[in-house]
Amino acid sequence: MIKLQNINKNYAQKGRKITALQDINLYVNSGEIFGIIGGSGAGKSTLLRCVNLLEEPDSGEVIVDGKSLLDLSTVSLRDARRKMGMIFQHFNLIATKNVFHNIALPLKLTKLSSKDIQERVQELLELTGLQGYAKAYPHELSGGQKQRVAIARALAHEPKVLLSDEASSALDPQTTRAILSLLQDINQQLGVTILLITHEMDVIKQICQRVAILDQGQIIEQGEVLDIFTQPKHAVTKSFVATCMKESLPSDILDKLHTTQQNSNDHPLLHLAFRGNSAVEPVISGLVKHCDVMVNILQAHLETIHGESCGAMTLSLENADKCDAAVDYLRKNGLQVEVLGYVALG
């Protein structure tokens, strides 16, 4: 549905060339929810805006629903943009117009009769759970309600694609969940392809099927969300996954962590990641029996992503000399293992 090919974009700032996007290749399937995650300044905002040409790439191709947007005339580009809805972090509603007129705005840009507009807005109000708010003004609404208005407005022309620019980032956790599940409903019921950008791995975890990680204008990793969660390769990806898995070790342990064993009472610290229904407990019990090693579980976290469980665990081994054998055993049992280092505990 969306195909970005070899996208490059540079800015000139005070005479210096700044690379915003570098050789971006991205393919979003029809009907999927695709997430792009990156820190601030990674270029995700620019990348999203390249899809509807709010930002024009310096080179590359943007193909949406089979049309190469960079080849379109101004008039055809306007038509193509109508088939793409867009929502924003700060909602971008018209403050001087009520909910009805905000949602009706994109409809008024085409030659629809006021009766048709009336009906369509009514449908959209119901779809987004805003019945009864037609006459309210934006300043009378909560953040979640404002985003619902923005979503209704974005869906006015029954778009095939919805672009979401940090749509939940200005909302509290509960409202975030409600807005994300609304997006998921829209995706499932209307078949709208959603491309979203976020800096929160939780958003990716909750609704995305696939994800791309953007760092300094480049896509450093992309794939199925579950794969990225259980087998992150790049350091940036790992740190995003770690924020979501709540796996930051207490600072007193981190402070004492060495990459090599420094004395005999240093214990190896292992990080395990697992997915699927391979229950981890028998593996740990097996490890204890098979390798004759004492295990201390420091941290464990379990997640369900798209109905499949995945998790992570940090443990320390009492006997450093058994470390290699333990890692072998765990890997044979299908776990991702990483030796974080050595630490003297207690």
Partner: protein, 213 residues
Amino acid sequence: MSPLVNATWETIYMVAISGFVAALLGGALGIILFLTAPKRALSNAAIHQSLGLIVNIARSIPYIIFMIALIPITRLIVGTSIGTLAAMVPLTLAAAPFYARIAESAFNEVSPGLIEAVTAMGAKASQLIWYVLLPEAMPSLIRGLTITLIALVGYSAMAGIVGGGGLGALAYHYGYQRFDAQIMLSTTAILVVMVQVLQWVGDYLAKKLSRRS
């Protein structure tokens, strides 16, 4: 008291007509200045800079000089340089660039995110103006119009001195040249009331339209 009533009406007439025309002209200029600026929907450096220069020149000339310098043009347009009608030409031409800058800054206050959202909807420049820029900037446009009208009340009094009508002429001829203190005080009082009413109405409308908490 008839000359006073008469002069009051002349002032209201001059200010209202020239204010109305200046709002239209200046508003249009403000929109063009806004949209032709860099990175805007119709960005065009040549138009933006030349219009900006014209506006700046017109605004840098003190009104009393502007009015006199414009006499030939006034004659060309209304056939005479004396009277209420003639006074409205320089009033309008002075107020329009003044209001253009006010309108431009009112449009600059419209959220860039909203403009981006409407562009992403596939809106034409004309639709952007009509559905977004004008309604969103309206409270500021009205506040700016209030300032412009009050400035026009002042300018119109100056017009009175060089042959225009209105309260300025009355105060000058009766109050200054004939030492009529009563007329002097009365015209001053009427001008004060006029400015108060304008400010009050402007504030009320702007507040009513702003829809912000």
